[in-house]
């Protein structure tokens, strides 16, 4: 029953709601959606392996120099890491609710939740920037000006190098995520998504949650090593 199927698409059960979104190589929107979801997961698994290398480096050095890592971790801003964990979890909730909103055809709610997630993503980056500034003024950036008065300063510097590497790549992913969610929010505002077609919202959501999961592991590994004083 669709005008678009004149290009020889044999699928008669084509969803009539948004046939314009259907690319010619797929039989129907369902198959198109499943392919896109699979593609996104494949990409996320490559991301897992990308971060996996850094986590392995961390694991090896932590096993080799546990005391240095424990000492260096005491110089993390505990409150900032904890608040940022909560910020990312809340932003993930809003992204999940955004997917729910588009499935239920609430366009305004979709845009609203995406903007909330965006705001929290930016809040995360601001807090992270504040932390980086704190490390900078306290000479905790590896290099010529690095100072550390605990035991084993050489390997404390290794900890900070890994810290900046891992949180830096995570922050880069957050910046990309903010750009992605902005784009999706703009397209949603223009009315591009419907219950029948909203794969870009789903896939941007998958990316956002993945970046959240990376932080879920970075938080205990960098901020919660060993026993610490409260605040």
């Amino acid at each position: 029953m669709s005008a678009q199927s004149s290009h020889g698409n044999p699928a008669s059960g084509l969803a009539a709601a948004a046939p314009a979104a259907l690319q010619h190589q797929f039989a129907d929107l369902e198959q198109q959606r499943e392919s896109a979801t699979l593609g996104m997961w494949v990409f996320l698994i490559t991301e897992v392996m990308f971060f996996g290398g850094m986590f392995t480096a961390y694991l090896i050095y932590r096993v080799m120099y546990p005391a240095a890592f424990q000492g260096a971790s005491q110089h993390m801003l505990f409150w900032a890491g904890t608040v940022n964990t909560a910020v990312l979890i809340c932003s993930s909730l809003f992204v999940a609710l955004a997917v729910h909103a588009v499935q239920e055809d609430h366009r305004r709610l979709l845009v609203f939740f995406l903007l909330l997630a965006l705001l929290l993503g930016l809040a995360f980056l601001v807090i992270k920037g504040y932390e980086y500034h704190d490390h900078w003024v306290n000479h905790k950036v590896p290099g010529a000006s690095f100072q550390f008065d605990g035991p084993d300063p050489l390997h404390a510097e290794v900890f900070f190098a890994l810290y900046f590497l891992m949180t830096g790549f995570h922050a880069l992913h957050m910046v990309i995520g903010v750009g992605l969610v902005s784009t999706i929010a703009f397209l949603a505002w223009r009315g591009r998504f419907s219950p029948a077609y909203h794969t870009p919202v789903d896939n941007a959501g998958l990316y956002w949650h993945f970046v959240d999961i990376i932080w879920i592991f970075l938080y205990p590994l960098l901020y919660l090593i060993g026993h610490r004083r409260l605040w």
Binding site: E30, M49, T56, I60, H209, P220, H227
Partner: protein, 100 residues
């Protein structure tokens, strides 16, 4: 095979669980458990990651087996990366080889 619409309530319960686990892991890190601080923190992190993957990322409702194949392959190769690397670094002192 239509996609599942997860109830809002489910999302909110999972979110509450994640927030509680975050508070727990932050507070537990202030108690001295000796060797056990790291395993406890990592166990909580794994639980949180699993919650996010299963519910927020809809893995629990994923009917496509090939997605599961990819996810499990990712977990498998990540374990290979960790465990086989550590078989080297944890066993170097077993033999008294110079320049370990």
């Amino acid at each position: 095979m239509a996609e599942t619409i997860v109830r809002k309530r489910t999302y909110l319960v999972v979110w509450a669980g994640l927030m509680v686990l975050t508070s727990v892991t932050a507070l537990v890190s202030c108690i001295n458990l000796g060797q056990w601080n790291a395993p406890v923190a990592l166990a909580i992190a794994c639980t949180k990651a699993l919650l996010v993957a299963l519910f927020f990322m809809h893995l629990r409702y994923e009917s496509s087996k090939i997605v599961w194949v990819w996810v499990l392959a990712g977990v498998f190769w990540l374990s290979v990366l960790f465990f086989l690397s550590m078989t080297d670094f944890l066993t170097r002192q077993f033999l008294n080889v110079p320049g370990k």
